[in-house]
């Protein structure tokens, strides 16, 4: 038993980190939120070229997967850098279509990062994320998968970089029958894993930035990070994240539904708690959208609730085998 990332996994995460740092994601997020997906799409293509989407697809569809642990590493980085767009949804769409034999013949494009997909599973949400910026909008209703003809009005989200919109009804029926339900369950499992990983990344970024701020901001003649009330809150943030991390990678190894749900709860709650702490410790400057911190702050809550609310996930944990 060696429950640690391999050297390859570490190197992969480091290379994505370097690429995303150099790309300067805050500007890309702000453009995406303003309805200009151009810079985001360019970054998307680079993520595709780095192999991120290939991790979710089997070789038969030009993927290298399924490699859930590697995917988790990649999505932690995407969260740490607040990469905008329907990344999770594209992974879920990839899994869904691969399970169904790629009825729309879209997988090679998705895997390469040339095509952006989004989807709405009726059991999760009536909205597809970022449908306005996606090339492919899928809708799963009951045991049917539809290639939607477009999307309805874009809704306002707590995170301006998330642009949910309902898929339009009708379009092309891609598949129907019990196989759709099984495929949708698999897609949802991968969405849970990827969202959990993104949450962890968001939480880590919030903690890093807040620790840096607490060391540098002085009040009463001392860095605020030397006050115990501040220290202890940050220590608790680290605790939450560090005990969520092994659940995430454990779930990536087993891919069991209860484990995935446990990882989703723990990462979602830890990241949200990190956001609350980050805001409190930054004080008023944290409550502004000028500071880039806001890009992560506003992500934590929607990610916690996307693809399986904490309550739904907890019920799923208890439905599985006991610990």
């Amino acid at each position: 038993m060696r429950f640690l990332p391999t050297d390859e996994q570490r190197a992969f995460a480091r290379s994505l980190d370097a690429m995303l740092t150099a790309a300067g994601t805050p500007g890309i997020v702000r453009a995406w939120a303003a309805g200009d997906p151009g810079p985001g799409r360019a970054l998307w293509a680079r993520l595709g070229a780095a192999g991120v989407f290939a991790l979710a697809a089997p070789e038969a569809y030009e993927g290298v997967g399924p490699l859930p642990a590697e995917l988790a590493h990649a999505f932690v980085e995407s969260g740490r850098h607040a990469v905008p767009g329907p990344l999770v949804e594209t992974v879920a769409a990839t899994v869904l279509l691969a399970e169904l034999g790629d009825p729309a013949k879209r997988l090679p494009g998705l895997v390469a990062g040339e095509t952006v997909a989004t989807l709405a599973l009726d059991v999760c949400s009536p909205y597809a994320l970022d449908a306005d910026a996606a090339d492919v909008v899928l809708a799963v209703t009951g045991d049917e998968v539809w290639l939607a003809p477009g999307h309805g009005e874009v809704r306002v989200s707590a995170d301006p970089a998330r642009r949910p919109a309902p898929p339009l009804p009708g379009g092309e029926l891609l598949a129907a029958g019990p196989a759709v339900r099984a495929a949708a369950r698999r897609a949802r499992d991968w969405a849970l894993l990827a969202t959990a990983a993104q949450s962890l990344g968001v939480g880590l970024a919030l903690l890093d930035r807040t620790v840096a701020y607490a060391r540098q901001r002085t009040q009463f003649g001392a860095p605020i990070g030397s006050f115990q009330a501040v220290k202890h809150r940050l220590a608790d943030t680290l605790l939450g994240l560090e005990f969520a991390r092994p659940l995430l990678f454990g779930a990536a190894l087993t891919c069991e539904s209860g484990d995935l749900a446990a990882a989703k709860v723990a990462t979602g709650e830890a990241a949200y708690a990190a956001a609350r702490t980050a805001l409190q410790i930054h004080g008023a400057v944290g409550y502004t959208d000028e500071l880039d911190l806001s890009l992560w702050l506003r992500k934590a809550r929607p990610l916690r609730d996307a693809w399986g609310t904490p309550s739904w996930c907890r019920a799923r944990v208890l439905a599985g085998p006991t610990p």
Binding site: R2, L4, P5, L234, L238, L239
Partner: protein, 389 residues
């Protein structure tokens, strides 16, 4: 990344399971915090040792099985899953023994470890003093040089199970010089002594539940021979601190016990849900039960990662503070959830849950309070500036 066990590890697990199935007492033993329970637990430790399972991680020559950390964790999972009794020899096995492996002499190991493994000699930890709690280095009990050894005097307190134990280990001020110059961590010596030696008075102190589980020790020129000094005189602080990592970290509270407790909690919740529609409908309670399962899994996996890092030669250091805060907070939440499920029955002090709850209440206090652990996490793991202590 890998969570699977080798065939040899699975064999080890199967052997432990088979032995435990054949030997674990069918009825729970009385609480080890009582005289009667203490005696019953001693017998159990002896049986465990006869089977070769009382200290699996020790070298074979002292009665162990040379088990590595992964095997030890497997053993603990089996131990608690089998409903086996709590370990009355815990202080010795998890605190003194690792210290002797690191700093003791071969003579000390050969003399101290085998009777520790069989429960013939049960050890108490004598660190805290009335005026030295979190600020342990301010301790004032003295060790004064004498012919062939040392004379101990002063007062120790909160010494777990010292009311019934045989021997104790502690730190004493052997050189008052450095402390007078404002360096209290220097000039301390780590010693082992007999709780029945002339000059020792043991006064049992009732815990929150009234059980005389810990004791105050009054020491009045208690003679300790040189061979009972652990490590170099004057190096007591460093030696003691190397063991607190064990105390806070995983060897004091293995994931096995929390996995077993979470499992029992889920069973309780299922029983109660079947019996009462109110419980079924209470989603907040259900969520807390789920959090117990999630917490136990998180701790197990966190520990697995730590074991893997240790196996690669890393030193966990301040990370054991993460463990400590996590398990103590988690244990308490788990027991509170059980009491809420039990409702009015939870009050009944002789239920295993109520006893576990009282024990869990102390978790955030002993082994370094959680406030002190959070300071360590903030300063050593996050790099925040030191504040006033």
């Amino acid at each position: 990344m890998d969570l699977s066990y080798t065939a040899e590890e699975e064999e080890f697990r199967a052997a432990a399971r088979a032995w435990l199935r054949a030997h674990v007492p069918p009825e729970p033993l009385p609480s080890l915090e009582t005289a009667e329970g203490f005696a019953a637990h001693r017998v159990w430790e002896g049986r465990l040792a006869a089977g070769g399972w009382s200290a699996v991680s020790w070298p074979e020559r002292y009665g162990g099985r040379d088990a590595d950390l992964t095997r030890w964790l497997l053993f603990e999972e089996e131990y608690y899953a089998a409903g086996a009794p709590g370990r009355v020899s815990q202080n010795g096995v998890s605190l003194l023994a690792p210290t002797l492996f690191a700093y003791g002499t071969e003579e000390q190991r050969a003399r101290v470890l085998p009777p520790m493994a069989t429960g013939e000699v049960i050890w108490a930890q004598a660190w805290s003093e009335p005026e030295a709690g979190s600020d342990l280095a301010s301790l004032t009990s003295r060790a004064v040089r004498t012919d062939g050894g040392w004379l101990l005097s002063g007062q120790k307190t909160w010494s777990s199970r010292a009311a019934f134990a045989d021997r104790a280990f502690g730190i004493f001020r052997s050189d008052p010089g450095p402390a007078a110059e404002g360096r209290p961590h220097r000039g301390l010596t780590y010693l082992m002594f007999d709780l029945r030696a002339p000059g020792v008075t043991v006064r049992p102190v009732g815990r929150l539940d009234g059980r005389p589980a810990f004791a105050e020790l009054f020491l009045d020129d208690v003679f300790v021979p040189d061979e009972d000094v652990v490590g170099e005189p004057g190096q007591g602080w460093r030696i003691a601190m190397s063991a607190t990592g064990n105390e806070r970290g995983l060897t004091l509270r293995s994931p096995g016990r929390f996995l077993a407790a979470a499992d029992r909690l889920v069973r309780l919740w299922r029983e109660r849900s079947e019996a009462s529609a109110g419980v079924t409908a209470d989603s907040a309670l259900r969520d807390r039960v789920a959090d117990a399962v999630i917490g136990a899994r998180a701790y197990r996996l966190f520990t697995a990662a730590g074991a893997a890092r240790l196996a690669e030669g890393a030193d966990l250091g301040a990370e054991s503070s993460l463990n400590k805060v996590f398990w103590s907070t988690f244990d308490l939440a788990l027991h509170e959830t059980a009491l809420d499920l039990l409702g009015p029955e939870g009050e009944s002090a002789d239920s295993a849950w109520a006893e576990g709850y009282v024990f869990a209440l102390a978790g955030p206090i002993y082994a370094g309070t959680n406030e002190i652990q959070r300071d360590i996490i903030a300063e050593r793991l996050l790099g925040l500036p030191k504040g006033r202590r």
